[in-house]
Amino acid sequence: MSIQVNHLTKRYGDFTALDDIDLAIDDGELVALLGPSGCGKTTLLRSIAGMEFADSGNILLEGRDMTFEPIRHRHVGFVFQHYALFNHMSVFENVAYGLRVRPRAQRPPEAEISRRVHELLDLVQLDWLAKRFPPQLSGGQRQRIALARALAVEPRYLLLDEPFGALDASVRKELRRWLRRLHEELHVTSLFVTHDQEEAMEVASRIVVMNHGRIEQVGTPEAVYDSPATPFVSTFIGSVNVLHGSLRDGHFDTGGWQLPIPNADLNSRSQNAFVRPHDIEIVRDASTPWPVRIRHVQPMGSSYHVEATPVTDTVQGPRVENDYLTVELTRQTFKTLALEVGEVVGIRVHHLHWFHQETAPALD
């Protein structure tokens, strides 16, 4: 176990940033810490780095308790959201910094430093910028230099705090792929913080979803998306329709609509159920007992998002969050159906998940 976090708790006054966190990360993994701002993900990363210190619990690196060790004994490379390059040093000196500040006995000779720095600058494909100063570089270039600088000390762990957060959308996309390839090449255990679920899904081999200082779920991108462990994960990752209702006799009942759910012999009074937009099918025949009126059609390029309001004759009707369901249709399906705004069609729900209690696992 490369990084192990046990019962880590950290409070700032009344605010609990980390609430009894347990986490284990294996050698060579590339893990994302994902969550909304204020969820504690950055505090957790900074605690592992040794930039902040938890109130209780401990952090083990390679089995050794490092909870209160200063940062320089932890062999971490840290990459900051705003790069934190030394503006008064050239790019070369920035990358060489970690080697130059070593105690005299461990400091490599000048030729070796130069070789290593150029090797790293080659790795990030920016060797031609060696003599420039950071303020003369673009954001994407600065972040790549920051990464080269962090790698220069041959860290055992690479910690990245919102590494692409300050960059333009297009640069961000490019750097994501690049980070993924770099990790495949170097295999250094890496942990990065992000609030962007798309980024986490695209880059990480495992995702740690956090909220309110707690870990909600740890799993592969597929697992987190397909079987969310909590209502929070359901709504935070991907888009989802939320229905309010109750469980009764193998059905989910919302305002007169009886949606079948498999394996459910439980009854409950008040319950939320979650349906992904692509798990709803629109059908032309009036055979389904769930009619909806098309309110708005939003072309998204390769797919179409359809907003549809339930049509009902009961007083209350189905209780849907925002009062409409979002249905995602492929381009092909949409063209075939030829939907018009205002018309009434039927829906079929293919997959619905629900949680008996806040922490219960998802059921199909």
Binding site: N6, F53, T67
Partner: protein, 292 residues
């Protein structure tokens, strides 16, 4: 697991973050900084008070109520009341043309406004003697027409104007440059007169910076010593300002009286610092409100 580890190898109870100093460094430097502040700033203030009352409250009151002291206070007030308003108007005019318009010679003008800061106050006094003194360019003419300038009030005012010239302008120019001219342009385009634009747009936005400059200008105007000393002639009851009066008393070995008069000036300094930090606080709040 954690308990066994902690028993085997007791970790320090807490770590120090990279941006925090090691506690002993922090305590040592804090103590050193407070020592510097205490020795160089607080002790002199305490000593002024202590020396002023060394011969008792009676002697203090006598020194303060002495007619010569009264006259020095009056002269100092007249000087400040003349210089500060004039320099305020000058500062606003200078900041307006420098911060709002482009014209050739603009940076030269800025340099000339800043110049009095880098000239010794003694030289500031000297130049007015060269112009208005008995051997000066215009001195004979003014004296002949019964309006002497050197060794008289006009000389004191001129020398004080010189040394306090940059205070208001220097505060306003960067402030107005940073604020930009969009709001004033908008008010003109909406049909406001120049006068109305100044009172409703410009002044409200610069008021704290202006007050800041005025307070510092006033402190210097009341406390100026070198420049005034050269042009005043030290005539007691006639051309003696408060700082000059302090010097005369001190040189006559009337130490307690000198310090008693000095408490008035030290009080002025304290009041200036208090108003200044209130203004800074308001300015900061205005800035935070504007940016949020």
């Amino acid at each position: 697991m954690s308990t066994t580890q902690n028993i085997l190898r007791p970790a320090p109870r807490t770590g120090t973050a990279p941006t925090e100093s090691i506690p002993w460094v922090r305590y040592a430097l804090s103590a050193l900084a407070l020592l510097i502040i205490a020795l160089f700033l607080i002790l002199p203030l305490v000593a002024v008070l202590f020396e002023a009352f060394r011969e008792g409250v009676g002697a203090y009151v006598d020194a303060i109520t002495d007619p010569y002291t009264g006259h020095a206070i009056l002269l100092t007030l007249i000087t400040a009341l003349t210089c500060v308003p004039l320099n305020t108007l000058f500062g606003i005019a200078a900041a307006w043309c420098i911060a709002r318009f482009q014209f050739p010679g603009r940076s030269l003008l800025t340099t000339l406004i800043d110049l009095p800061f880098s000239v010794s106050p003694v030289i500031a006094g000297l130049v007015f003697i060269l112009i208005f003194g008995s051997q000066g360019w215009f001195g004979g003419w003014f004296a002949a027409h019964g309006f002497p300038i050197i060794f008289a009030l006009p000389g004191i005012v001129l020398a004080t104007m010189f040394v306090t010239l940059p205070f208001v302008a220097r505060e306003l120019i960067p402030l107005m440059q940073e604020q930009g001219s969009e709001q004033e342009e908008a008010s003109i385009m909406l049909g406001a007169s120049a006068w109305r634009m100044f009172w409703t747009i410009t002044l409200p936005r610069i008021k704290w910076g202006l007050l800041y400059g005025v307070i510092l200008c006033n402190a210097r105007a009341m406390g100026e010593f070198g420049a005034v000393s050269v042009v005043s002639g030290h005539i007691r009851g006639a051309t003696n300002t408060l700082p000059l009066h302090v010097e005369i008393l001190y040189n006559e070995y009337q130490f307690s009286a000198a310090f008693a008069v000095a408490t008035l000036l030290a009080g002025l300094a304290i009041v200036t610092l208090i108003i200044k930090s209130i203004v800074e606080w308001r300015q900061q709040r205005q800035w935070e409100n504007a940016s949020s």
